[in-house]
Amino acid sequence: MILILVGDNVNTNDYIVQVQDVYYRYDKENVLENINLSIHRGSFLAIVGPNGSGKSTLLKLILGLIKPQTGTIRLFGQDINKFREQHKIGFVSQKANSFNTGFPATVFEVVASGLTKKLGLFHILKKTDHVKIKQAIESVGMGNFLDRNIGELSGGQQQRVFIARALVSEPELLILDEPTVGVDVQNVNSFYEMLETLNKKQGITLLMVTHDIGTISEKVTNVACLNKNMYFHGSADEFEQLQLNDVSEIYGHDVQVLTHDHHEGGHHHD
C-alpha cells in the first residue's frame, strides 16, 4: 500500500478525502484496484489517466453515489457512510456541458439552484442568499451576465456558471469532472487561472479529473495518475520529473514494468 504524504507534519484531520485500499468491480471486472488517495486541505489535485481508466468511477465513489466492494473512504475525517455534510462538497459534472441549452433559465437562477439542498424543503431565498449568489457569480468572473439566459453563453462561460452553482453553498472541497471539455482552447488558460484563484485566495480544496496532462502540472499542487491502479500520487514537481519516461507508459501497455518502477522510486510507504 502506498500513501504519499505531502509536507512533513501532517495531521490526519487535515485530510479532506482519504481513500484506503479501495476496489470497485462492475460486471465481474475490476474497474479500480487497490486505490489509495489522500487529499490534503488546501491542495489542488488533478487525477489524470486515459479514457476508461476509472477516473469518473473514483469521483462517484468519493461523492458517495456508488459504494466500493472493499476498502474505506473517509470524508473530512468521517466514514463516508456516516458523512452527512454533503454541502461541504461542491460538484461540477462533465455532463454540465451537455445540458439542454434551450432551457430558459438565467445565470442567477442556475446558480441559485445550487442552494436547493442547503435551504431544504419549503424554504425560499432570503436576502442574504441573494448576496451569496451574486458573490459566487462574481468569483467566477460572470458578474456582468446575471440576467442572461444560460443557453446564450459560450461553453466556457457556461462551465463557469456551473462552478458558481457549486460554490454558492460554500463548499470546502470542489470536485470537477473534466471541466474543460467543451471550453474553447483560448479560454482554457483563463479557466485554469480562475481555478487557481479559487484555490489560493479562497482556500477551496480542488479535486479535478482531466485528461489534458500538458497544462495542468504548472497549475495544480498534486497529481495522481490512474489506470485501474494508482500509478503515481505525489506533488506536481515530482510529477514533472517522471513525466517523460513513465507517464507515456501509463498510457501505454507496459504496465508491469511501471509498477515495479514505482516501488523502487522511493516514495514514502505508509
Binding site: N100, F103, P104, E109, L121, F122
Partner: protein, 283 residues
Amino acid sequence: MISGLMQYEFLQNAFLTGMIIGVIAPLLGVFIVVRRLSLIADALSHITLAGIALSLLLEKKFLVLSGLNPLYMGMVFSVGGSLFIEKLRTVYKHYQELAIPIILSGGVGLGVIFISLADGFNTDLFSYLFGSVSAVSRADLWTILIISIFVITIVSFLYKELFLLSFDEEYAKATGIAAKSLHFIFIVMVALVIAASMRIVGILLVSSLMTLPVAASIRFANGFKQTIFFSILFGEISVLGGLFLSYYLNLAPGGTIVMIAIFILVLVIWLKKRSAKRAILKR
C-alpha cells in the same frame, strides 16, 4: 355577453373554470416542455377519455354510478396512467419515450371498446372530446378549484426542487434531492390538471393548453420565472378570448382556444424574427 355572465350560471361556470385552467395548465406546461415531456399530456388525455367512457357506459348500461361526475373516473384513469408511464419509463430506460405511445394507444383502445359496448353515446361524449361552454357544472367548477389550489400550493412549495430536477436531473440526484418522489408528485399533478382542463378544451386539445403558451413565451422570455409568467398570460388570453368568440360565433370552445394560442405563437415567432433582423441592421 356581460349581461349573459350575470344571468346564466353555466356561463359563470365556464368562465371561472377557464380562468383557473388558464393558470394551472401553462404553469405545469412550462415544466413539461423544458423536460421534453410534451407528449405525456397527450397520452394522459387519451387515457382520461377511457375513464370517462367507462363512467358513461356504466351509467347507461348498468345504471351504476349514475349521478357521479364522469370527471372523477377520468381522473382515476389519468392518475393510474401517469403511474404506469413512470413504471414503463423505468422498464425501458433507454427508450423512455416508448411509454407515451403505449399509454396513448391503450387509452384510445380502451375508450373505443367502452364506447362500442355502450352502442355509442349522445352528445355528452362529444362535449368531452372537443370541450363545451355549456357542459361545465357548478360541481365541476368546485372540483377544478380544489385541484388548482392543490397544484399551485405544491408548485410554490417545491419550486426550487422542481426547477433543479427539470434543469439538471443528474446534479439534482447528486445533491441528494428525492428525485423519484418529486417526479411522482409532478406526474400526478399533471394527470389531475389534464382531467380538470378537458371540460372546457376537450380531451383532444387539452395538451395544447399546456404546450402552446409555453412554446410562445420560451421564444423571448429571459429566465424561468419570466417564462412561467408569460405562459400563464398567453394561456389566459387564449382561454378567455376563445370562450368569448365561441359564445358569440357558436363555435366549439376547444378549437377556438387552441387557434388563438397558435395565433399568439405565430405572432411571437414573427416579432422575434423581425427584431432580430433589426438588431443586425443596426450594427
